[in-house]
Assembly symmetry: C2
Homo-oligomer: 200 residues x 2
Amino acid sequence: MNYPKDLENLINYYQKLPGIGEKSAERLALATLEMNSDEVTKFSESLLDAKNNLMRCSICGALTDKEICDICSNGSRNHNIICVVEDYKSIFSFEKTGTFNGTYHVLNGLISPMDDIGPEDIRISSLSSRIEKLDNPELILALKPTIEGEATTLYIKKILENKKVTISRLSYGIPIGAEIDYLDNVTLEKALEDRKKISE
Amino acid sequence: MNYPKDLENLINYYQKLPGIGEKSAERLALATLEMNSDEVTKFSESLLDAKNNLMRCSICGALTDKEICDICSNGSRNHNIICVVEDYKSIFSFEKTGTFNGTYHVLNGLISPMDDIGPEDIRISSLSSRIEKLDNPELILALKPTIEGEATTLYIKKILENKKVTISRLSYGIPIGAEIDYLDNVTLEKALEDRKKISE
C-alpha cells in the first residue's frame, strides 16, 4: 500500500512511540488529519517545547523546566527526608499519592555489574554530598526488588555507615487488592517474613 | 500531580488522540523526551506537513498530496470500474488487499434522514458526472450494511436506473476465520440467503 508521502512519514513517527503498532499508528495519523489546523500546530509546538525546555533539576535530578525543580525549591517540604529513586518517572508516581512531603534523589540507574554499571555511573556521589549538608537526615530507598535494586541499596547503606542518617526501604508485601491465591512465591514469602503485629 | 508545564501540554495533546488515555499519554510524552532532538524535530514537522500538504483528490476524493491522486492518474488501472466508499480511509483497506485494479469514489458520508444528511450533502452528483463520461461502467458499492448504507445504495441505484451501468454491492456473509456458533443472527441469515452453489 502506498500512502501519500506525508501521511507515511507521520505514521512512521507515531510508530516509533512505545506500544504503537502499524495499525494504531495509521489510526493516530488519520485522527491527526481530522484535528483542526490550529490544534495540529500547537501539538507540533508542544513536542518541540517539551523536548527543548525540559531539563533535570541540578539538585535531585527530577524533570523540570527550571534550574532547580519545584519540589527542591519548595520551602514547605521536608528537605531532611530524601526518597531515592532509580528513574525520574517514579517521582510522578509518588507525587500522585499526595502523601509524601519530603524531597527526592534520582539515581539515573542502578548498580549492575552484569551491565558494567558501577556506583560511579549513577548519581550516588551527589546523594552523599546532599546528605553531608543535612542534620540527622532520613533516607528512603525506593528501588525495585531485583538484584540490581538490592545491590544499590547495600552499596548506599555501606557508604553511609559512619554517617548519622536513618535509612529505610519501601516495605515488601501483598499489593492492595491482590488475590493471595495468585501471588508469586517470593512476594508471599516476603509478606510472611515482614508480617506486622496488629495486637499485643 | 503537577507536571512541568511543557510536559503537561504534551500529555494533553497526546490525550486528544483516539484510544489514548491519561496513563498512555504520559507514557508517550515521556518516550518523546527520550527520543533524540533531531527525531522530535522531524516528528513535529511531519505533523504539520501531513496536515498542511494533504488534500482530497479532485476526482475521487481520496487523500493525496496532489490535485489528482495516484490512483486516478494511473493509466494502468481500469477507470471503467468505480468502487464507491463512504470514507477515504476505506481506500487504504482495499489497496492493502492488492487485488482491486479499478478506481474509487469517496462519498464522504451516507444518506441519513435521522441526521439530516441528504443525497446533496454527500458526493453523489460528482459520481453521476463521472459515470456519464464512461462507456459501460461498473459500479461496486462498498458501503456498510446499516440502514444508512442501504439507503445510500438504493438511492444510487435509483438515480442510475436509466443509465447503462452495471451495479453490484460487496457480498454479505461469514467473515473468513469466524466461528459459525458465535455469528450474529442477521449475518447468518444473509449467508444462508446468499448461499453459493458449488456443484450442479
